[in-house]
Symmetry: D2
Subunit: 224 residues, 4 copies
């Protein structure tokens, strides 16, 4: 669509969101990753966005960033304390069920994320191609079948719902990440992963998401 | 004891399904539980149904049992090797992704359970009231947010879809159960539960499902 | 050897010890097992002994019971919260290192159990024959290579040291047991085992200890 | 700064041993760490030694390296697949019990490491000061109470026995390390740690071992 003599076409972009610390933590590896991402991945400009750990507001902030940056891909990251691998999430469900309050003290129990939304959204990024690419980069990864019922699932559902409602063609999904090593060195009893390793994995995942319009066929389900 | 010429009103019923053994096992605790259930629970006649560990056929068999028994409640049970508690499943998703073949050698990867079905069904039984009742009976239990992507999730989705499509008012859901002690004594490296304990838990869950038309409000979500 | 008109020879005996509750618990499965043991196992009279969760005093109480009952076998039981199987302990080490205070508030850190004792005692009961017998009875079991560094290890070391020092020919060892189902139903997040199952396992273990003067050869070690 | 014609005093040294791959692995993180250690730590020259995963021969190779390098400290490293943290081992026991064959096909079951050796050796390095220092460096670590019963425990026991028998004043111990990220990316289902992180942790541990002639008092025991 570029007119003659027009400025260079705006670059394709990927939006990566990370969360503020929650649950008593002083850091959140999802945002530490964002801070270390390169400026470009797979030819796309990288935009990052810090999202509050708050129901509703998390979605608003991410949606605002989508409006400003017009990304091809929206990849949200979130901390999954206790997990040992990057978890590429397959699905987000239409429920908020908070075991602890969010950062404003709000604790919804069995409420809908979106009153008229479908019961679930599947990620529109190729989760298996991404998991395979992350592992090929030497970073432990898996496809995960639950993003929980707290703000992470809320944001994943909310972004997919927002994109669907706005007619956007951006594809989106969520990656859960382990505690950082600094967190685990303090807590003493949980798996962890180096931030640099997570950055390497997230970059590989984004490249795979760009390159694979359709997901690969690979059995990677869970028996239960 | 019914008097002659008096036609007894048909009793309310609960249908409980259990699976055939799979994944190299010789037994399946979900069916062992069914075999030991009492004839009546909470005033309902108990019907049990052995379901094959086969995509498609599992749903057909369960649906056939629903047609024969007209239950108020359909509770499906399935083995979750590695879990330590009864898991009252919150949601089933519209995907078949088999890590291993089913008992006929069929191994669907990322196929739909129902071509025109919604992305997910939430259980129509009160999962939190049930989990609380099971624990009150002294049996470890939790609300679970994923039933996996194998035949268990397939059956849970399929039964809920069948009931929705047929206009049935029956409420339905799924309970995952640990390995039996006999299985774990052979495998040596997994949590387990006594079959009698699981029977006690399933009975308590069914009573709670009957008594609680609407679920209780209790925060029991997962952070991730 | 009984002379004519002599009183019946005293029966062989097994002494089984269980602990008082600790760490905020209201029950201790090790003592609940003792309460349900039969009066005789493998032709031996069963004596049980409730041991306080206290450094020093635990050993004194058990040693006193040995003096009163002259057992062939001394089997101590203790709660191992978080484990999923019966753990037949291979070895006790000469160290007290308490992560939490004992029931009198005493919290030794890196002290010796016995000032002049050897660095460790191996169980003098046949741990592998016992683990195999427990599993053959349908009860999950394993050989464990650490009894920790709290009162359980302290008691195991102390009893073996007492028996060695007193020239007793009694054989002794320790079995760690999971949380009871009632405990796990309250805590919600740990493997557990039915008390009746544990009783069945402990009985099978005692029979095997009586029958196997020497242990069987079976690889059941740990890589790390 | 050495003056001409003056023979430089031989530098203090630390010997760090790592293992060859075993159990079907192509790499062993314990040796990958050795390859990346700096030439000097805490003023000590660093010598590394690749040890075969073989009963007997592992000890001989390590003892030969001790004879050549006259270290102040001997730190052996070994892979502990499934662990999530560095494990500073407290004790080695006098038993070989191999669940799998070693790299020559030898599989001892319940044999002694040393026919006339004591039942166990405690590490002569300050395990708690080391664990604290590793954590202070941001690397997850714990004191471990079992090194298993395979070649790792064998080597730890053997080195301590050799040093005791030879009248050496060198202090020695063992650190278990998680799978590398490359291993876990292949296996898909285990915690892991970046090699660079492990190097940072091992260096911090060695510094603490040099600086702490006596261990710190810190409760870090295990309940079971």
């Amino acid at each position: 669509m570029a007119k003659p003599n027009a400025k260079a076409a705006p670059k394709d972009a990927v939006l990566v969101t990370g969360f503020e610390p929650f649950d008593g933590e002083k850091t959140n590896p999802s945002w530490e990753i964002c801070e270390r991402l390169p400026r470009e991945i797979a030819g796309m400009r990288v935009h990052t966005c810090l999202v509050p750990c708050e129901f509703r507001r998390a979605i608003e902030v991410a949606a605002g960033a989508v409006e400003r940056t017009h990304p091809l891909l929206v990849i949200s990251l979130g901390q999954a304390g206790g997990r040992a691998r990057l978890g590429i999430e397959r699905v987000a469900i239409n429920v908020d069920d908070a075991r602890i309050p969010d950062n404003t003290g709000h604790q919804p129990v069995d409420e809908l994320v979106a009153a008229n939304g479908p019961p679930a959204y599947f990620a529109t990024i190729p989760v298996k191609a991404m998991a395979a690419a992350v592992r090929a980069a030497g970073v432990p990864a898996e496809v995960s079948n639950t993003a929980g019922t707290f703000v992470c699932n809320h944001l994943m559902y909310g972004v997919l719902h927002y994109l669907a409602a706005s007619g956007s063609r951006a594809r989106a999904g969520f990656i859960h990440v382990p505690y950082s090593e600094a967190q685990a060195a303090g807590h003493r009893d949980s798996p962890s992963m180096a931030i640099d390793t997570m950055v390497k994995g997230v970059v590989a995942a984004i490249v795979a998401a760009r390159e694979n319009r359709h997901d690969i066929k690979a059995p990677e389900g869970a028996l239960d």
